[in-house]
């Protein structure tokens, strides 16, 4: 099953979205990476990397994010992965809560990452630059 990482500026928002998605697909690995290391609002590349590694399998990982710098930090985190892992990680610009839930349900149905990306197209909100 595809692992899911939720990147938010807020620890609570990331955890909340994780909770909502997990309720619909408890069997899926979902990690929340919210807030900075010192507990401020913001995103932290190290916590994103840690979250990716936590839910990673060869089926891949899908990253869902909230605003602005969340995308840049997610993108940098992905660039820092080994080649082998990197090609199995995708970032989606789906609305965070809806995207996390839809991705979780589809991952629970054992759909591949490419299929899940297609399922998410209805809730994309073009927030990637």
């Amino acid at each position: 099953m595809v692992g899911i990482v939720i990147v938010s500026h807020s620890r609570n928002a990331a955890e909340g979205a994780r909770e909502i998605a997990a309720q619909m697909a408890p069997e899926v690995s979902i990690a929340a990476a919210g807030g900075t290391a010192d507990g401020r609002l913001g995103t932290d590349i190290n916590s994103i990397l840690k979250a990716i590694r936590e839910v990673y399998t060869d089926d891949g990982v899908l990253i869902i994010f909230d605003l602005g710098s969340a995308y840049m930090n997610a993108e940098m985190a992905v660039e820092m992965l080994d080649e082998d892992m990197r090609k199995r990680v995708e970032i989606s610009d789906a609305a965070m809560v809806e995207g996390a839930a839809i991705a979780a349900v589809n991952s629970g149905l054992s759909k591949p990452l490419s299929e899940i990306m297609k399922e998410l197209k209805h809730c994309r909100i073009s927030k990637m630059p």
């Binding site: 290391a37 401020r40 710098s69 840049m72």
Partner: protein, 214 residues
Amino acid sequence: MVVNGKKLIEILDRIADVIEENKLMLTELDAAIGDGDHGINMSRGFHAVREKLKDDDGSDIGIILKKAGMALVSNVGGAAGPLYGTAFLKAGAVVEGKQTVDVADLENMLKSALEGIKMRGHAEPKDKTMVDAAEEALNALNSSNAAGESPQQAIKAAVDAAYLGLENTKDMIARKGRASYLAERSIGHKDAGAASFALILKTIFDELYGQESS
């Protein structure tokens, strides 16, 4: 102008202080059209740079800039982290293994840093971002170097151009980051990222040539 690793670390150290001194100004610019965290974010970032470099032997300019970039990426929290982090990493990559840099190197570093910022932020000039300060600065440095002016004149020209670029952001509509949510209402405010960029460049000049009364 020749800067060795030890001097570069001193400059970066001074940038941490100057950012601290200007924290409120940066925060206020960001608060007007963004989320108001630029001052604290930059301060956290450059204090982390200082911490990371305190035991560096200063032997490789590329490594110093790479360490600074990683400290910024890991500690800033806002968009400035990946943007300045990428800028320093890219600047470091063009001077890998060098023990000293001169004004021609500085131009290459700035060019590479700007490319990095544009790539990471997917920003172009006139988007009301730090690109608007950086692009003006690079053009001025390039013209001044090409005209054979002294390093001091060239770097001064770059600082002045960065401040002009910062001023120009006032009339622009934000097209990147959270300020873009305000659309036309972002007009009339200067961009916080362009302000920190100009401030950093000015600090480099001041450290090299002493503060000028303006």
